[in-house]
Structure formats: C-alpha cells, structure tokens
Point group: C2
Chain length 553, copies 2
C-alpha cells in the first residue's frame, strides 16, 4: 500500500525551502568563500540572496536598528529584487519606507511606526504601501512561527566571531526571536556587526543559526528612548504620582509591574524613595519590574526598593550602571545586560500585577488610543501589557483584589492603569466622544479601528482630579460617570453632576486627593528624589553616562 503517492498523484518535493536556500548560497561563491561578506559588497550580496516576493524580516527594532542593512536594501536594483513582503517590528528610518516607494518592497506587516507615522499614513492613502496587519510586538513574534516565517532575516549584532556566533549584549532585544524563526525554517540569516573578533564576551545567538556576517561601515543606530529628564516633571505629574502610589499601588499591594515611558511614570519612580518611603511602603510594593533600564529608576534601585528588573532592550548610557548592579538586572557572564523583548513581553503580559500607561485620547467608556489624525503609529507593546490575560491562572494579592463578585467561578484581573492629564498640549481635551482612531482606521481601510487599550480592560484611570476605579463600575453607564467625575473642565467633566460624584466617592468608585489624604499643595518638585539628569548621575555614583542630548554640562 502506498496511499501517499496515490493521494498525491505525483511525488512532490519536501525540501523546496532548503533547496532554494542552498542555491542562493551557492551563488555567493563569487563574492565570498566563507561566512563573511565584504562590507563594500553588501548590495551585491542582497541582490544575490533575496528573490522577488521573499518574506524579509528587517530588524527595525524599537531602539537598535540594522541600519547598515536597511540602507543597503534601499540600494538594491528593483529590477532584480522587488515585491518583498517586509516583516518589521518598528518602522523607524526613512529607508524603511523608501524601499516601498522604490518598488523593492510591496507588503508590510509591522508593530510600531512612531517616527514615520505621518509618512506611513500618507503612503497608505497614496497606495504606495500595502499593509498586511498592525500588531503588538508579541503577536508579530508569534506569527513568525505561523504564517509570517521569513525567508531572509537582516539583523544587527555588536560582535561576531568567524563561526557566526553573535554577541548582542545589552541590546539583544528581538534579534534571537527573528533569527530562530528564520534559521529553523531554512531561511537565510544575515547579521551586520560592529566588529568581527575571535573573543566574544559571550554568545547570545549560536553561530549555527547564522549564515552570513558583514562588518558595517559604522555601528548600528541606537536610540535612547526611555530616558525622561526629571526637569520636565511638573507638579501635576507629582500629584498624579502620589495618587497612584497611595490609591492604587499601596491599596492593591502591587508587587510587580511594568511602567510605560512618560513623565507620569517617571514621577512615580522618583517619588518612591521620598513619598513612598514616608508611607512605609519600601519592601511592600514595586519590587519586581519589567521595563527597560529607566534612568529615573536609579534612585529607587539605590534606595533598596527594587529586587529585579527584566528588560525588553537596553538604554543608552545605562550600560555601566546596569553592569554594576547584577543583583537587580539580568546580566551575562561578561557582566553586561541581556535583554529579550519576546520574553519580557511575555512577563509583562502574564507575570506582573500591573501595567501603567498613558494615552493621547480616551473616549467616555475608557477606550483609548495614541493614534491621532493623519498619523498611523501602530501599537508596540502597550496592548499586550495593557490588557487582562484571560489565560492567567496564578494569583497575587493585587490580581485577587480586582474580584468584585461573589461567584464560585471567578478570576482576578490584571491592573491596567491609565494616567492622563485632562488636557493635552494645545488645550485639547483628552476625553473625547469619538476617538480619532476610528476615522484613521476607516481612512486607512483597516478592518478594525486602531484602539490601543480597550475600556473593558482598564481597571483604573488617574487624572490630576482623582482616580476612577473602573473595575468597580457596575456597567458602562457607571464607567462613564466615574470618568466624568475625574474629567475636570473637559466637556465630559462639565456634564458630571455633583450628586452622582458624591455617590461614586462614597461607593469607592472614585477618589479625589482628599479621599486619599493627599494635600494638593504637598505635590512639590522638592519631593522628587532627583530633579535633573545630573542628580541621576550623582545617584548612580557616576555610573550612568547620559547621552549628550540629555546633558546640561
């Protein structure tokens, strides 16, 4: 019996990907005998290795950019290399979009386009780019193993040895994930490296996963995205930070958390060693963190608040500080940080009590988005961490605290905390009847509106007016009333009646600063453990080396 041939009709090949790869690599013989592509031959190499229609993962990471390779890709002959399907977590550099205008690439699946969000929206409208989907980081990584497996990976590392072993160090980020998905399905992995050496500090990615190495003409681009200058923290941020610490962190015993990047969360980080200390909370809250090495976390670390930090990526200037604090940070035998964006997103989704983020717009039911008219910025990691993971089964105090019902079948909930001032820059109210994201989604013909965090996942909203404990709201109408109570003089807030507000305060659905025993007049910059970048350097005993743009000296 040979059913397989009977059913198949004729024999088929089961090694088409492997054969294709072998063929492409054999053509490389005219450029190089080994793994190392000469720097000045990279465009030729890409023209040999990449075929029209290939699925290409280009490491446009959140911070680290495979900038030498993306530049080279934008210089290939579009008659030879075209119609590529690009898979990129971040659209950060001009050539990331140039390749679409030049016809080298056609289809894009991505996560985040912050720096290129305006041009992205325009190109979609012009039809010069076709978008597959917009993802959170983690779902894009998942799809690398399902239906977006690359034929080609173009990634960046610090160093390689001649066997192809890679050292990615503090900025390991998502490189191992992209390389694994590509290498183990017969794709071709090309890594740009700043340096070729026989003495790697450690191996982050084994050489048997890597096909080619090229030494770049200059080091890969790296941005400091998680540094917030304490000088820009206002008394309003401080007031909101005090409310969050008192009314949320302390109340719900938040032990583990992720902070998004922003001045509100920076304020909290800088209030822990002062205001938090005065409340006797050290060792009781905020012990385990998933976040990049925020410089504003240095005082809390130095004061003994922080047990551990696992990081998505590194942060420019924090290298020496992190290396000197291995009890807190995940570091390798060489002493430097090992980040891992995929596993940190898993941890941020599933293993922490709380996510604390911010937004540009929130509708009356708590749905929010950072998408504004004309800009398609994508999601990054916020929706992944800013949602309740229904698969979670382990309990913590904070998670159990979110249970409001009496049923035998109930679970806790992750705390999803949004911190927003009632007005954005330009005097625009944050609370709006309809999110711009709805119009942007329709204009870009997206199948759903690009909402960042959905209202049904939000447990708390903090404004300068107070806290809405949305997890306690009985229904949508009460959710709206609770938001109105803290919406200040925005249109939503002005519609709020004092009788309803008093009932919500009594029921604990809303709290004002006075309900939390916080005096607004205490919210002074003198409460900040560090008031400037210089102060952060001092706290670090000189180990933190801020990038030039953050220095005042």
């Amino acid at each position: 019996m040979d059913q397989s041939n009977e059913m198949n009709g004729s024999a088929r090949s089961w090694t088409t990907r492997r054969d294709k790869k072998a063929q492409q690599i054999s053509k490389m013989k005219r450029l190089t005998e080994g793994r190392v592509i000469p720097t000045n031959k990279i465009v030729d190499a890409l023209e040999i290795l990449i075929q029209p229609g290939d699925c290409v993962a280009l490491e446009g990471n959140n911070q680290k950019q495979a900038s030498f390779l993306s530049d080279a890709l934008s210089h290939v002959d579009s008659a030879k290399v075209n119609n590529l399907h690009m898979v990129m977590s971040s659209i950060s550099r001009p050539e990331h979009l140039d390749i679409f205008e030049k016809g080298i690439a056609r289809l894009l699946d991505f996560s985040f386009a912050g720096p290129q969000s305006l041009r992205m929206a325009q190109m979609i409208e012009d039809g010069s780019i076709e978008v597959g989907s917009i993802h959170t980081y983690l779902e894009l990584y998942g799809r690398l193993f399902v239906d977006l497996t690359p034929n080609i990976a173009l990634v960046a590392a610090d160093k390689a040895d001649s066997h192809g072993n890679l050292y990615t160090g503090p900025n390991t980020e998502e490189t191992p994930t992209i390389v694994e998905a590509t290498a183990f399905r017969d794709g071709i992995v090309i890594a740009q490296v700043n340096e070729l050496t026989e003495e790697l500090p450690r191996v982050d990615i084994p050489g048997s996963w890597v096909d080619f190495i090229v030494v770049s003409d200059k080091p890969y681009q790296l941005e400091a995205l998680f540094t917030r200058d304490p000088r820009q923290i206002s008394e309003m941020h401080i007031l909101m930070g005090m409310m969050a610490i008192r009314g949320i962190y302390e109340r719900h015993h938040i032990q583990s958390l992720n902070h998004g990047v922003g001045f509100n969360t920076a304020a909290i980080e800088l209030l822990l060693p002062t205001y938090g200390e005065s409340l006797g909370l050290k060792g009781k809250i905020c012990k385990n963190w998933t976040l990049n090495p925020h410089p504003t976390l240095i005082p809390a670390i130095e004061s003994g608040w922080v047990e551990s930090v696992h990081s998505f990526g590194g942060e420019l200037g924090m290298e020496r500080y992190v290396a000197a604090r291995p009890d807190v940070f995940f570091t390798g035998k060489d002493g430097s940080l090992r980040s891992n964006r995929a596993m940190c997103q898993v941890a941020g989704q599933y293993a922490v009590d709380a996510f604390v983020g911010s937004t540009l717009q929130m509708d009356f039911y708590g749905n929010s988005s950072t998408v504004t008219l004309g800009r398609l910025a994508g999601y990054g990691g916020a929706p992944n961490m800013g949602s309740d993971p229904h698969g979670r089964r382990h309990a913590s105090d904070a998670w159990l605290n979110m249970i409001t019902g009496e049923s035998d079948i109930q679970r806790g909930k992750k705390l999803v905390i949004q911190m927003v001032e009632t007005f954005q820059q330009g005097n625009k109210p944050v609370f709006v009847e309809s999110l711009d994201a709805i119009k942007v989604g329709k204009d870009a013909k997206l199948p759903i509106a690009p909402v960042m965090v959905y209202g049904d996942d939000v447990t708390h909203v903090v404004t300068e007016e107070g806290i809405a404990y949305l997890y306690k709201a009985q229904n949508e109408e009460e959710r709206k009333q609770a938001l109105a109570a803290i919406a200040g003089v925005t249109p939503l807030g002005k519609g709020s009646g004092s009788e309803i507000t008093e009932k919500l305060r009594k029921d604990g659905v809303v709290a004002f600063p006075e309900d939390l025993k916080i005096k607004r007049t205490d919210a002074k910059r003198s409460l900040l453990a560090a008031k400037s970048i210089d102060d952060l350097v001092d706290w670090s005993d000189g180990l933190y080396e801020p990038p030039v743009k953050f220095r005042s000296w």
Copy 2:
C-alpha cells in the same frame, strides 16, 4: 553630593547572587577541575551547589524529563539541602514529589501534574507540600523573569561539547527558557546529557549560558504523549469531526490553529484528506498549525493540506518523518526538529485563529475543567491557548467573523472550540451544575477554583448532538439554552424545550447535523484517511517509527 550613600545609610553589595555563585562553584574544585561532573559524583555535586532555601528549576517538562538529575536530587542529604523552592512546569515522576516528603523541598510552583495528580492532591491535604501557584506554561515562563528566577537550573539535553554548548534537538521544549532566566541572573545551570562529544549536530543553547555538564547513566526519560491510535476513533468522534469541519472550520475560514490532544481532534486530522477534500477545502483551511508532530496529521501533510507546523516539543517516533519534511516543520541545519515551548505557546495564544480542546466537565454556562474530585492535575497550556487574547490587534477572516455587534470600537475574537461527548466514561454527564473544580479548589485552599477554560472565552461547543455557537448568544441565559440544546439526554439537555431549540436553530445559535447537511449515517470509520497506526506508517513511507506500545506487529 552623594545621595545614594546618604539614602542608603551604608554601602551595600550589588553582587550577592554573583558572589554566592562564585563561592559555590569554587567548592566544586574537589570534585572536578572543569565543567564536567563525573556521573557518579552528581549527588555530591548537588549537595555542594544547592543551598537550603534555593529556588530550583527542575526540568520536569511535558515530555522530556531531567530524570537523572531529579533522581539525584531525591538522594541528597536533607540535612544539607532542604527547604527548596521548586519551579517545575510538569510534575511527572515519583521523585518529583518524593523530594517534598523527604524535606529536601518545601514550596512548589508548577503548571501540570497529570501523572501525579492524585498524589499531589493527597499531599496538599496532608500538608506535606506547599503550593505557591498553579500556572499555565507561559505564565510560569514569564515569572522566571520576574519573581521566580531560579538560583539553580537542572535541565536535560541530548548532547554537549566540552565548552558546554548544548544540543537539545527535537526535544528542545522549554530548556532554553529555563536556562536563560537562570544563567542571566547569576544562577547555576547544570545540564544532564546523554552524550559528551566534540561534534554537535547544531547548538541549541550556547555554552556560555551553562556551568556544568554531567553525562547521565541512561538517556533522559521521554514520553510519547501526542500519539493517538486511529483504531480508537469512534463513529461519534467522526460525526463530531465532520460537524467541526463543516460548521466551524469552513464557515469561519480557519487558516491557523492549535489542536489539543484527543480522539476528537485526531478524527478531524484524519478527515481532512477525505471528507475535507470532498468539500473542496484543501488550501482554504487548516494551513498553519501550532502543535507537536501528531502522527495523525501525517495523511493531511502528505496530501498537501499543511503549509507549516511549529511545535512545543517533539514526538517519539516522528523524528525521521519530521526530518524528511523540512518544508513543513521547523528544523535545524542538522535536519532535525527545533521545538520551542515558550514561542509555540506565544504563537498558539496570539497568532492562530482557533484553539480546539476538550474537557471532562462543563457547567451550564460553558466553564470547564479537567480537574475531577481527588485529582489536582494543573493546567498545562490549555488556558493560555483556550482564551481570547485581548492584546491581539491583527485581523484574520476567522477573528473578524466573531464580531456580532455594530459598534465602531470592537475587535474580533479568537475561536475557542470545545469538543465534548455528552457523557464521559462511566455514564457520567459532561454537563454538570457545578464543576468538581470548585470543591477541589476549596479543599486545596486555592485562591480561585481551578477552571481550565472560562465560558466567556468559549466561542463554540461541539457535541455529538450539534454545535452551540456561543459567541452569538446574547446573554448568559441564552448561552445556557444553547448548551442545553446540544446536551442530549443529560439533565441539562432534558430540560431543553423544543420551541427554544427551534428558535436557536433559526437564529443560527445552534446547528444540528442536518442543518449542516451532514447525514449521521455517513459518519463511518471508512472516512478516516488512516484506520490504524500501521496505516500512518504506510502514509509516511515508513518514516514514522511508532514506539513499541503502539505497534500491533
């Protein structure tokens, strides 16, 4: 200014973990000069390297067991090594619990205890084990980077070289995740290997992450957990499989999916090349899979249905078949499978259209559990994949198909499909008023009842009577009515009125076989593409080599 010292009071060490590790390793000099621990010295080595109270990740994997190391751990002197905090995804072997009875270990965080579920429940009642939490795999992995970071990892690999590089091959599973979390926070990584060689087929884990290697006295334990003998597939399974294909897979265009292990899903796999082919569905559904290499998927693969399979782990006997089908499976340069449980769980959570599972009990609102009285089996991966990930933002046909409302702010939903016969073995109804899990949870003093999949995440339930499209139910009462309509002669089903049922059928909330144009009498075993293990071997052209217990010859 030196705020840090001022705030700290006195200087503290930031290298306590690293110093402790260096000290433990220096004591090893009396046993070995290098990385390799002599096989007969492993108990001594563990007594040197592990300190009382340490957090120890012992690789009790789903299939692969670090059996040499777990056996050794159960033989250490509890006067020297005690009060350990064990972190284990699977409790599979007797010594995994023996160490608690012997006082070597005290506290346990785990995911799955299938083979030891009865003893586990008993030990909790006796107080001889203290359980931290029960997790899904993915949340346990997340916590390795947050608040359950091991001091010691005891893992299993196929081969190592003298530099500590590990080859884990088809059974890579969760080894890299455990090792990464441990190695990068100054924990000690000890790997048992079947063989020490200088010629690794490939490197799965870099040597710079590994501290010690020990050659085990016999190869690690490995179980075939995902093999289902087609002989045991009944006509009832086939009928349910036909309904699932017609009424769910085809209707919602399911392209990517995870199948739990069971005879219902095995039936579907074996119906694709026959019944599915007759419906013209090849190339339209079931293209991308996240699951272990199920032998029952061979006919669908050979018939050209399957584009890709990414796997949590390997499956005993499937090694040669997988290696010969690299277009479909993720394989390394050496040709053998590379599995990765963490990334496959991410893919199964976020990147597939549908999860298809089964259960032992379901309550009247669709909540379900495999926990039954006296047994605490834990969760494994089902809750992770059997829930709607609220962070998902990319769309697919199936996902968008779950939208029932009209709002501008809405998202799709993952399909969570439960397939259950109305009666379990022993004539017990599957549909029960109250899950046993509630009592088990109370008896074991768990903070929440160990529910496997919550009703509000379930979109479809299939029984031999029909399909309940729960995602269409307007409220809890209608959800109950829909389940009653397909609950047959169980108490729930008998309470179902024909008038209500007719309305539900008309509204498309319930479908019976005839509504799907399926004749019950067509559900014959002759429809199965393979009727026995022998047939599967034939389909594979002899590449599938079933373990002895599955052979009839």
